[in-house]
């Protein structure tokens, strides 16, 4: 690892330089919010964005992608060419960097997903520090710190970024495309100041050590009924979640009724089809059981397997949820810190 300092006014040049050989995906404004989108114009990029609607993991596990093409008349199957285009995810927040590491465990672990892997391996990641919003609880789940998972990491130190370089490719791009300077002791102090301010904004992290145990013990709580009665079953929470990765696979026939595509698309456990099996039996027939399932996957099942809760506290679900279902409040309710109606 080595360090550089990059003036903020160099960012557009950097992005446009990168865009020559890479597809650059960066945060830009859309409506009243921000989204990750392909950019070629550096001036459009907003690096001090609060958060994006859909997380950057969408560039590894696409909302919808054709896995193969088939011909039902002759049985021919052609696999879709894997997407291994050179790509850069630019401006990824600490929470989302941690989320990518979590989905990596799922898609690059025991069962390697070739589609995810192709994109992941051909993508460089440039992280960026952030200013926590009211809804951010990354510190609750240890997702405020980033130790790996990026090629470059930019920390805002006023009129410049303190750049941590952790890959040769990232460092070479930085040195080739823009002017930087060596980090001085003063820059390091500025970095420390940023980190201190960041921690101060987030405040003290609530105790989360007993979360899986707590979930184990309180499976039959009334709380789930209460939350379930409010759930709109829209799946907005899972659509914006950087760690939700469940998908469905459907065959879509073309208009000619002969050829078609096998398509993978994001699915949601809040959807009543999700746990329904052939013959019509539904393992989770009520809204309450579906909401509970989502929480148990994040706070009980994933930790049991991977040793970490599958939530990075980015606050997207809470912001997207029309009825205010909020993971940190649910955890607090289970811990007995707030009334059930407030979860």
């Amino acid at each position: 690892m080595f360090f550089r300092v990059l003036k903020k006014d160099q960012i557009p040049t950097f992005i446009e330089g990168l865009a020559v050989d890479y597809e650059v995906i960066a945060p830009i404004a859309k409506g009243l919010a921000y989204v990750f989108a392909p950019v070629t114009c550096g001036a459009r990029v907003v690096l001090d964005y609060p958060t994006t609607i859909v997380p950057p993991t969408a560039y590894f596990l696409k909302p919808k992608e054709a896995l193969l093409r088939y011909n039902s008349a002759d049985g021919e199957v052609v696999e879709t060419v894997k997407d291994d285009r050179k790509r850069i995810l630019f401006g990824v927040h600490p929470c989302d960097l941690n989320a990518i590491l979590m989905t990596d465990k799922v898609f690059l672990g025991d069962y390697e997903d070739p589609y995810y892997k192709a994109r992941r391996e051909s993508t460089l990641i440039v992280g960026v520090s952030c200013t926590p919003r009211q809804s951010c609880v990354c510190h609750m789940f240890g997702a405020n710190e980033v130790l790996q998972g990026y090629d470059l990491y930019l920390t805002d130190i006023g009129d410049a970024y303190f750049v941590q370089c952790s890959s040769v490719e990232g460092a070479q791009l930085l040195d080739t495309l823009v002017e930087t300077r060596e980090a001085t002791a003063e820059d390091t102090r500025a970095l420390q100041k940023h980190v201190a301010r960041f921690r101060q904004t987030l405040g003290e992290a609530p105790d989360t050590t007993q979360i899986p145990l707590l979930f184990d013990a309180r499976y039959d709580e009334e709380l789930w009924e209460e939350i379930g009665s409010r759930c709109l079953s829209c799946g907005a929470c899972s659509a914006v979640c950087p760690t939700c990765y469940c998908f469905d696979i459907v065959d879509e026939l073309d208009a000619n009724g002969v050829t078609g595509s096998r398509v993978r698309c994001w699915d949601s456990c809040l959807n009543s089809q999700f746990a329904e099996v052939a013959g019509g039996h539904d393992f989770r027939p009520t809204r309450a059981s579906r909401v509970r399932h989502r929480f148990y996957h994040k706070f009980w099942a994933y930790p049991a397997r991977y040793g970490k809760t599958m939530c990075v506290g980015c606050g997207r679900c809470y912001t997207a949820c029309k009825v205010g279902i909020n993971p940190s409040r649910v955890v607090a309710a289970l811990q007995g810190d707030v009334g059930e109606g407030e979860a």
Binding site: A33, V54, S233, C234, A255, G257, V258, K322, V323
Partner: protein, 270 residues
């Protein structure tokens, strides 16, 4: 593929024929047409309705006694019935007259003193499902042509139809739209049947639930949210009525329909 193609008949009840016009609006229609024998389509040919056909595609709401009789005949003839568009699927805009209780008044306005002669067998507009069992639904106002093609291919093969059940907000998030509610405009994505990728919201208009209510919709919670955002139950109900005024009615009649004509269920020979 068997030698004989399934025979498809397209029927029109009460609507503006917009969904049928949509059918001619996409290049892939020629591909779709090659997959079946189109034996009857009043909108484009003067061919007589044959005695037999396999799949019936029906556009429009049911608004007369005569249509009810026709519907029952269709159900007894076709092994598969497909509702085409909002009017057939939910009662659509025609059913709005029910919610307002204005059928008689409108009949007098439109037909004058002769209303009882000209439109004597009028009924409160209702979706097909109020009278017969419907196997497949192609929702929307108007329908999305490629969805017609996808659903019809399933219908021709009698594959299981398993449309999405969640309400629209999730899909709308994937389309990365700013929520209309947050800009002070009520939007029915909260309860609307998804599957359209929130195309209206993406184009700058709030959702009117033209695809009907999502099977998983939580109306009570949605009403509470709307009320908290300044759109009370009456205002919310009025919005919902534009395309879904007949929903309650459809539910009431579901039992009656199941007890009566259920139609044939054999697979089409494809």
């Amino acid at each position: 593929m068997h030698a004989t193609k399934p025979r498809v008949a397209i029927f029109s009840l009460s609507s503006d024929f917009g969904c049928q016009v949509q059918l001619s609006n996409f290049p892939e229609i020629l591909d779709t047409l090659s997959t079946f024998d189109l034996v009857y389509w009043q909108l484009v040919t003067s061919a007589e309705l044959p005695d037999t056909y396999d799949v019936a595609v029906i556009e429009g709401a049911v608004t007369t006694d005569e249509q009810v009789v026709l519907l029952k005949t269709i159900r007894e003839t076709a092994s598969c019935v497909v509702a085409l568009g909002a009017c057939a699927a939910t009662g659509g805009v025609p059913a709005l007259v029910r919610e307002r209780g204005l059928l008689e008044e409108h009949a007098q306005t439109v037909y004058g003193p002769d209303a009882d002669k000209v439109a004597k067998d009028r009924r409160e507009p209702a979706p097909l499902s109020a009278y017969i069992e419907v196997d497949f639904v192609i929702p929307g106002c108007p329908i999305e042509p490629l969805e017609f093609s996808r659903v019809l291919q399933r219908a021709l093969r009698r594959l299981v139809d398993n449309p999405q059940r969640q309400s629209l907000c999730g899909e709308c998030k994937i389309s990365e739209n700013t929520c209309f509610w947050l800009m002070g405009t009520p939007c029915l994505g909260l309860v609307a049947r998804s599957g359209c990728e929130a195309m209206c919201v993406s184009s700058g208009r709030p959702c009117a639930a033209c695809r009907g209510l999502a099977r998983d919709a939580n109306l009570d919670a949605a009403r509470d949210y709307a009320a908290a955002m300044g759109c009370d139950a009456v205002a919310f109900g009025e919005l919902l009525a534009i395309y879904n005024a007949a929903q309650e009615y459809a539910r009431e009649h579901a039992a009656e329909s199941a007890a009566g004509t259920t139609g044939k269920r054999e697979a089409v020979d494809v």
